[in-house]
């Protein structure tokens, strides 16, 4: 019951991020989504393993990564997505369509393991697809990073299916890699700002054949 509520909130937040164009509130929405995400391990497999996962997720995804992203855009004056590749209305409709597709795919796949909730797999697919859509349809470097991170949140939901079988060491390694990834991306965004005067990847067109 609580798990389903958390999953629905996570999908809702994904859709809201998709329809948003203000960089600051996008980062805050991502932090909120990660907060609900951090509660899910405890709702599925209560135990010490889940508690450690929850604490690490809250530290990395709710506090460190969002503050890192705010640091990366601290000098950016235009905090709005200027002109997305696909308009906001169309992106939202496409997002809704992709969520439908996710449910359709999930109903076709039969899991060889017992499910805690039949909402888990479709919501994982939905979040991965929403993140991917965000990544490919926007030009601001920071929005692309948020898209990547939302996608990773979806993969995290998938990993919950296997929570009792994955060694803790491996899970921690994966979370650490994602954090370092966000760190390196944040630093490069900073370089892009300094060099081009804006964090938009529209300027990155020098290299081509």
């Amino acid at each position: 019951m609580w798990l389903e509520i958390a999953l629905i909130l996570i999908i809702f937040l994904g859709i809201i991020i998709l329809g948003n164009n203000h960089l600051g509130s996008m980062i805050q929405l991502f932090a909120l989504q990660s907060f609900f995400l951090s509660a899910t391990p405890l709702l599925i497999h209560p135990g010490p393993h889940a508690i450690i996962m929850m604490i690490v997720t809250i530290i990395l995804k709710v506090f460190l990564i969002p503050s890192l992203l705010f640091w990366a855009i601290r000098h950016v004056s235009i905090r709005r997505e200027v002109q997305p590749l696909i308009g906001y209305g169309k992106t939202l409709i496409l997002g809704g369509f992709l969520i439908g597709v996710s449910f359709l795919i999930s109903s076709k796949l039969d899991l060889p393991l017992k499910e805690t909730s039949n909402l888990l797999v479709p919501s994982a697919f939905s979040i991965v697809m929403i993140g991917f859509l965000l990544l490919v349809s926007r030009f601001k470097a920071i929005t692309q990073v948020i898209g990547y991170l939302v996608m990773e949140n979806g993969i995290f939901l998938f990993a919950l299916l296997l929570l009792d079988k994955t060694p803790l060491l491996v899970e921690m390694g994966i979370l650490l890699d994602i954090f370092v990834g966000a760190l390196v991306m944040g630093i490069v965004i900073n370089h892009i700002n300094q060099e081009f005067g804006s964090a938009s990847t529209i300027n990155l067109t020098n290299l081509r054949d």
Partner: protein, 474 residues
């Protein structure tokens, strides 16, 4: 002990470099670390090729093969860097050194991983550690290349993680994704989830390896990275990604999914060759051309895996020779860049007159990389061709030969133009001397290429034989 010396020691040295102030001392540490790494790798050859350190870490023939050429290439590049970093005095050298040492640890961890999750972690860490290396020059172009590399690779790696999770779901009856357990119980894997997982893993690790159509970061990244970094990335890093693909192939072959995965390998391979052929022809930037050349050789590697039989042996042989050949040609490109201050083909003329030794190595590099006899790449490309003819795939044979000859033509035109050409009349700009550190790495690499391709020692033959046997063919 092996784990400490091969993985922990470079990281410790990276910390030391981070804390140190003296510039020269850092280079000594870099050289020291790579020497220790190479020494331990050579000592490991005395052991049987198959041994486990613990459940997560261990070696088999394939990982030992990859580890060996990574270690040699890193050692050679660290000698080259002594001269290269002295030549350009910059504050960014500290980050560069730290990332370089950690990258060595990351690549070693890739070869040692015996758990598919740990393998993913190691591959992802090498991506993140190599991004700051590309951005060393901090020009607008290099920032652009770094961003594209980071974004495309991270996306690919994320898909790889999804594939690893699907693999774990398909391995529900086995309960773990330790490589050994999966291979021993491959018959129990759920086939539909395994197929889904293989597609995601191939796209993910294929992005890292730079197979078409996921290759788009490659010419940009190799074009803008400092040439020694290009040597490491196209030689060692792609080898790591190939090892990951090799693991996927291993699982597929053991689970009797060969009919499913082989056509995918062949398709990716021939597509990479085709893309490389189109873009190498008439390429204006020497470094970008080398990027497409890497796409070509990665294509040949997976093509060999897809054809099966002797082509798998050829593919592993190609892997070793490609690593050293790429190292050679990128370091030559580094010498040319330091002298001519340009990557554009039109600005580099008469290299043989201006830099006699580098010029000769440039022509030798052309022969090595296009697969001229007697070098190893000729032999492996021939074996792959033979396997394609034996299995009567004549359309494939046609395109394989067509693309290889177009690529040969493209290379020869560009490289011979740079090496020979007319010396410009205004010799006002003084040519630099070729220093000791610019030449010695080239000599070492050509000697190694001779032994890895022409006079192959028995131990290397045996190692490649054993690595081929890991796939369970023959």
């Amino acid at each position: 002990m092996e784990f400490f010396l091969l993985v922990v020691f470079p990281i410790l040295m990276a910390v030391v470099v981070f804390l140190l102030q003296q510039e020269d001392f850092k280079k000594i540490i870099l050289l020291l670390t790579s020497s220790v790494h190479l020494f331990v790798t050579i000592v490991l050859w005395k052991n049987p090729h198959d041994f486990q350190l613990n459940s997560f870490l261990g070696f088999d023939a394939a990982s030992q093969l990859v580890l060996t050429f990574i270690s040699i290439l890193f050692f050679v590049v660290s000698i080259y860097l002594i001269g290269y970093l002295k030549e350009k005095k910059r504050g960014a050298d500290k980050v560069f050194m730290v990332c370089l040492l950690c990258l060595l640890a990351g690549m070693t961890l890739v070869t040692m991983s015996r758990h598919m999750g740990l393998l993913w972690i190691a591959i992802a860490s090498t991506t993140l550690l190599s991004a700051p290396l590309i951005n060393h020059d901090r020009t607008p172009q290099s920032i652009e290349a770094t961003w594209k590399y980071l974004l495309i690779s991270s996306l690919g790696i994320a898909l790889g993680l999804l594939g690893t999770l699907f693999l774990a779901i398909s391995a529900t009856p086995i309960k773990t994704i330790f490589l050994g357990d999966i291979l021993n119980n491959a018959a129990f894997l759920s086939p539909s989830w395994l197929k889904l997982s293989v597609i995601f893993l191939l796209v993910g690790y294929g992005t890292k390896m730079g197979l078409a159509p996921m290759h788009t970061w490659k010419p940009d990244a190799y074009g803008e990275a400092p040439p020694p970094v290009g040597a490491l990335m196209s030689g060692a890093l792609t080898g790591c990604a190939f090892l990951a693909i090799f693991r996927v192939a291993q699982i597929c072959f053991h689970a009797h999914l060969q009919e499913f995965v082989s056509p995918i390998f062949v398709l990716l391979g021939i597509l990479s060759l085709g893309i490389a052929a189109i873009f190498i022809l008439g390429q204006k930037d020497f470094h970008r051309m080398l990027g497409y050349s890497s796409v070509e050789h990665m294509g040949i590697l997976v093509l060999g895996l897809g054809l099966g039989g002797t082509a798998i042996w050829a593919s592993l042989f190609h892997l070793v020779n490609n690593a050293f050949a790429k190292g050679l040609i990128f370091l030559v490109a580094g010498n040319l860049y330091q002298n001519f201050r340009s990557k554009k083909v039109e600005n580099i003329q008469a290299a043989v007159h201006k830099l006699p030794i580098t010029g000769i190595f440039l022509i030798v590099g052309l022969l090595v990389i296009t697969g001229f006899p007697p070098f190893g790449i000729f032999y492996s490309e021939l074996l792959i061709l033979k396997e394609a003819i034996m299995t009567q795939r004549y359309v494939l044979v046609f395109f394989y030969l067509l693309f290889l000859s177009v690529i040969f033509f493209g290379y020869a035109k560009i490289i011979l133009g740079m090496a020979l050409g007319k010396a410009p009349d205004n010799t006002a700009r003084e040519t630099q001397k070729e220093t000791f550190f610019m030449i010695v790495p080239l000599v070492i690499l050509i000697v190694i290429l001779f032994f890895s391709g022409v006079l192959v020692p028995n131990s290397l033959y045996n190692l490649i034989d054993q690595a081929t046997a890991l796939l369970g063919e023959r």
